[in-house]
């Protein structure tokens, strides 16, 4: 049943202008960044070859562009989540959601999966653009696949976090501002806390960068799974409390 809700959310996102604007913006920006990196790489490639350095197109073109894609996903997720529970409350649709004869967990998981489906085309189109560069440069495909898997996990994490935040507000603008605050905090936590601090584990970048560089670490997988499940459980408990189930 969650999947049925997710498909509705996906349809709703496709029907809105925001989704298409974000898709176009992400696609144009990624294409521009990729070609700018490619041009810079082409300029220094002879020097790299003669210097015998281990850096290749994967390090100098693909990985930096994927890092930019991470930032773009962070910007896009809260905008797409404006139609989450905060948007439903603002538009007077929450009544039907709350009175639905479905479990709160089905509704929340449906919302999260729906947002994930909304982020998927942004991710897929950017990855496809970069994969097409394989016609011109040598791409380390296993590493590329690991980076794609990391970004897929990141987008699921983002969907869960912003759906949770959308539960806490009655106005989408408040949700949007708070989401950007929380995501910026998670993004910057790495640079403002020492690696030994216990809350450093919550920093986003140290869990994303290794994956983008082709390093698949179990601790990163655990981070994404634990925080995603925690966000979903918190959102479910909020919804259940709102419906008087707790």
């Amino acid at each position: 049943m969650s999947w049925s809700i997710a498909l509705h959310e996906w349809r709703r996102l496709r029907a809105g202008l925001m989704f298409w604007l974000l898709l176009a913006f992400a696609q144009l920006t990624i294409a521009w960044l990729a070609f700018a990196q490619l041009e810079a790489f082409a300029r220094i490639a002879p020097q790299l070859k003669s210097g015998g350095t281990a850096l290749d197109a994967m390090d100098l073109v693909i990985t930096p562009t994927l890092s930019s894609l991470t930032l773009m996903l962070l910007l896009a997720a809260p905008l797409l989540a404006m139609g989450g529970f905060a948007g439903e409350a603002r538009s007077g649709r929450l009544a039907l959601w709350l009175s639905a004869p479905l479990a709160s967990r089905q509704l929340v998981i449906g919302k999260v999966l729906g947002l994930w489906l909304g982020l998927a085309p942004l991710l897929a189109s950017a990855l496809l653009t970069l994969a097409l560069l394989g016609l011109a440069i040598e791409i380390d495909w296993p590493r590329f696949a690991l980076a794609a898997a990391t970004l897929t996990l990141l987008s699921l994490w983002l969907a869960a976090v912003v759906v949770l935040l959308s539960c806490l507000f009655e106005h989408p603008a408040a949700m949007l501002a708070t989401s950007y605050g929380v995501l910026l905090f998670a993004w910057l936590l790495d640079s403002v806390t020492p690696p030994t601090a216990p809350w450093h584990w919550l920093a986003l970048l140290p869990h994303v960068q290794p994956g983008l560089q082709g390093l698949w670490r179990s601790q990163d997988l655990v981070f994404f799974l634990v925080t995603t499940i925690a966000a979903i459980l918190l959102a479910v408990s909020w919804l259940a409390q709102r419906r008087g189930e707790l």
Partner: protein, 236 residues
């Protein structure tokens, strides 16, 4: 005959500021009960509890003998709810909005299609089935809301001021639709329009400050306005 809906000693809200106090009422299959009352009397809260949106602080709501708010209760599937403000996505078509409501009711894809195909002509919206909800008139939107509530053939229809914001013609259309419902469909209607009560309901009760007053049968003998005024002036 066992009532379809039975509310026993229901209260909602904090002890200091209760929204509903010791509500008792029952509705039998096919029966239509109107709740009259001023804004803030507690009508909407009571309807939201019956629709499953809220859980009572005290007391219980039984639907066909089973607790409506028990975990895993399937009773909510048998209740249709039309909230005060019609819930719809203006960027989706009327059909897509009905599909959303059907998904929320947990209907399978085949059941969804069948229910939507059946309900659109019933509410007279065939001509605008593919039109975006944002481009529908207030009357059409209200019919869309009613169609959402009727999806899957509910046994109890919970209606929160269904004609409040409509012009006389649209009001009449909604009343005709509700009038034409199967005799087996029970209705719990919150309104402050006496004409709605006369036209649609067999019984009426007045709510005031979270309490439910005595019920009366709606017939030619009852002067609803006097009954309403008496209930408002009675000591709380």
């Amino acid at each position: 005959m066992e009532p379809l809906l039975l509310i026993r000693d229901l209260s909602h809200g904090s002890t200091r500021q209760p929204r509903l106090r010791e509500i008792n009422l029952s509705i039998r299959r096919g029966e239509r009960l109107a709740l009259l009352g001023v804004n803030g009397a507690g009508k909407t809260t009571l309807l939201q509890i019956v629709a499953g949106m809220l859980r009572p602080t005290r007391g219980e709501v039984l639907f066909d003998g089973a607790s409506l708010h028990a975990p895993g209760s399937t009773a909510r599937r048998r209740i249709g709810f039309l909230p005060q403000q019609v819930a719809c996505y203006p960027e989706l078509s009327l059909q897509e909005n009905l599909d959303w409501a059907a998904r929320l009711r947990g209907l399978s894809p085949r059941a969804r299609r069948a229910a939507i195909d059946e309900i659109i002509p019933k509410v007279g919206l065939e001509a605008v089935a593919t039109r975006l909800a944002g481009r529908l008139s207030a009357g059409m939107l209200q019919r869309l809301g009613l169609a959402q509530a009727l999806l899957g053939g509910p046994e109890l229809l919970v209606l929160d001021e269904p004609t409040a914001s409509l012009d006389p013609l649209q009001t009449e259309q909604i009343r005709d639709l509700l009038d034409a419902l199967s005799a087996d469909t029970s209705i719990l209607l919150a309104t402050h329009l006496l004409d709605d009560v006369r036209r649609l309901c067999g019984r009426v009760a007045v709510m005031r400050q979270g309490r439910l007053g005595a019920e009366h049968a709606v017939n030619d003998d009852i002067d609803l306005l006097t009954h309403y005024q008496d209930a408002q002036e009675a000591p709380a």
